[in-house]
């Protein structure tokens, strides 16, 4: 396929992915927005004032970046895992497998779909957060790039999960047992400087910590982690998972007998 054709194929997949989650927005966009709004109300508004300040910011302002990031991570992940798995399950992945579209375009298309949903939910949640705190963005460039990179990374993770999934149960195992604990322990609700040195070091093994802190740096200008380290960690993970995903598709794991 020439460049023009590759672009057409890529755009087809992305638009289809966006339409997919838009058609079922009640299941895809609405719930995370509601959940996050509840966090804002309960932790930020009701409990937050009792907690006082965290790293020099009031608690509400501190958790807003983390909560936005959490919504982006979960949605980028779950969009790809459910879309890719259901295309395996219903067989429509074969529409792409019989066509000349190369695997890297398929990968890029699904990942972009995941990023798109992460962004849509992220923006919705950000707008809601404006009711509770007045966000001033310290460094927009950092904020945007960290969001895009993080969404890419978790979209890739979702794809890998979907490739190996053999039932609908399998697509919720990783989110429940890996993703949720990692985000909750990734410094969304607290600064790791509150932890003992031992647990601080354990926290540093959690990749989500780097993303939440990178994003928080973009918005508040504060971070537990130097922002350069955040970038490096995220990019290394993207390269690892990206290469792995592509090799899974090339080998036809889970999609070709």
């Amino acid at each position: 396929m020439n460049r023009q054709e590759l672009w057409t194929a890529y755009r087809t997949i992305v638009v289809r992915e966006i339409l997919r989650f838009s058609r079922i927005w009640v299941q895809t966009i609405f719930p995370p927005v509601i959940t996050t709004a509840l966090y804002f109300v309960i932790f930020g508004n009701l409990i937050g004032p009792k907690i006082g300040s965290m790293d020099g910011h009031n608690y509400m302002d501190f958790i807003v970046p983390g909560l936005i990031m959490m919504a982006i991570i979960t949605n980028a992940y779950s969009n790809v895992v459910s879309s890719f798995y259901s295309s395996k399950y219903q067989g429509n992945i074969e529409e792409m497998l019989v066509s000349p579209v190369p695997n890297w375009i398929i990968l890029a298309g699904f990942i972009s779909g995941g990023i798109a949903r992460g962004l849509v939910v992220g923006i919705a949640v950000t707008l809601i957060s404006l009711f509770f705190s007045d966000l001033r963005i310290e460094n927009a460039w950092v904020m945007v790039t960290i969001v895009l990179l993080t969404a890419t990374l978790f979209a890739l993770a979702g794809l890998i999960n979907a490739v190996y999934a053999k039932s609908f149960d399998d697509i919720s195992i990783i989110p429940t047992f890996v993703l949720t604990p990692l985000t909750y322990l990734g410094g969304v609700f607290y600064s790791i400087s509150m932890l003992s040195p031992f647990w601080q070091n354990v926290s540093l093994l959690n990749p989500v910590l780097y993303m939440v802190n990178g994003f928080r740096y973009g918005i508040l200008g504060i971070s537990d982690i130097p922002v350069g380290v955040s970038y490096a960690i995220i990019i290394i993970f993207i390269i690892l998972l990206g290469t792995f995903s592509l090799s899974l598709l090339n080998r036809g794991i889970g999609i070709r007998s």
Binding site: T8, A9, Q90, L97, S99, P100
Partner: protein, 330 residues
């Protein structure tokens, strides 16, 4: 001339030890309408899956219009359209989207796929349903949707794996017309089906797969010529109680007072002689028909000989019929 499809030494082993294909060699010429027949589990869909890059082959070579799947998969894929056996579209997408998107995967811009989609949907009688979720189509409509989808990139080789399964007779006929016209305009077609009259009326050449091996690859005419025994059923105008014995070379029996079964060896006997016999005994005929489809008869002989007995219970009637007529034919 480069073959539209050229397969050699094709092997497929599923898992560690289930051998589904045991070395298939097959050429289909451009413009052909080719029937690939075989019992359930013979390996038709596996063969098609390999041709269409849905199944990994274990060994062998596949070329589409000269493009080897191993070295020029992209070019090969662009020339094939597939109508799979199982529904494999997203049930929650509108019909029109499914077809236009398929064009997109081939790199065809929407400005081209949209008018083509309209044309295909109109030809296949689905235009009214273009905005409906695929889930809400009837079984026969879903089959037609898959035909439209397979044609969006104008493939030179169209492969249909049981396209008429579960399709009513009227739609099936119009599908035949559609495929006939498509073939006449130059598209090579390979078709699998369990309706043998369909294969007989549509296809020029035929291959029969049996347990992973191609046991027959010939023209439909030649194959049918091999059939020695002709079986007919005659309906009589008046009831009759007994039938006088027939000549040698022909077996005649009364099924019920107004139905006569006749079977004879083509080499030794003719239909004229059958009429002469019926006339002679003043048996008035109101109608006649072939007892079984001719291809079906041959096919059964070829593929059912060593099936496990349990599986053929349902077919016992037909088999005993054929055997008894053969036995009574000298």
């Amino acid at each position: 001339m480069t073959a539209a499809l050229s397969i050699s030494g094709l092997h497929k082993t599923y898992g560690d030890d289930f051998v589904a294909l045991k070395g298939i060699d097959l050429d289909v010429q451009p413009g052909d309408f080719y029937a690939l027949l075989g019992a359930n589990g013979a390996g038709k869909s596996t063969t098609i899956g390999i041709i269409c890059s849905l199944v990994n082959k274990t060994a062998g070579q596949v070329k589409i219009f000269g493009h080897d799947l191993d070295s020029a998969r992209e070019q090969a894929k662009a020339l094939i359209g597939l109508v799979p056996q199982e529904f494999n579209f997203n049930m929650y997408e509108p019909v029109q989207e499914i077809i236009a998107n398929q064009g997109g995967y081939y790199g065809i811009p929407r400005s081209v796929t949209l008018p083509r989609t309209e044309q295909l949907l109109k030809q296949l009688g689905l235009w009214d349903k273009r905005k409906v979720m695929a889930q809400k189509l009837s079984g026969g409509m879903k089959r037609r949707l898959m035909i439209a989808r397979a044609l969006i990139h104008r493939p030179r080789l169209l492969i249909l794996d049981e396209p008429t399964a579960g399709v009513d007779i009227e739609i099936r006929r119009s599908m035949w017309d559609f495929l006939g016209t498509l073939n006449a305009s130059g598209t090579t077609i390979i078709l699998t089906t369990h309706y043998l009259e369909e294969a007989e009326s549509l296809c020029r050449n035929i291959g029969i797969i049996k347990q992973g091996e191609l046991v027959e690859n010939t023209s439909m005419k030649q194959l049918l010529n091999r059939l020695d025994t002709e079986n007919y059923v005659f309906d009589l105008k008046q009831e009759t109680a007994v039938l006088p014995p027939a000549d040698a070379g022909c077996a005649i029996s009364l099924r019920d007072p107004t139905t006569v079964d006749v079977s004879f060896n083509k080499q030794q006997y003719s239909l004229n002689q059958v009429f002469a016999y019926l006339n002679h005994h003043q048996l008035d005929i109101s109608s006649m028909r072939n007892k079984t489809n001719r291809l079906e008869q041959l096919f059964m002989d070829m593929v059912t000989t060593d099936r496990p007995a349990a599986k053929i219970e349902a077919w016992d009637d037909k088999r005993t019929n054929t055997q008894s007529t053969e036995a009574s034919t000298p």
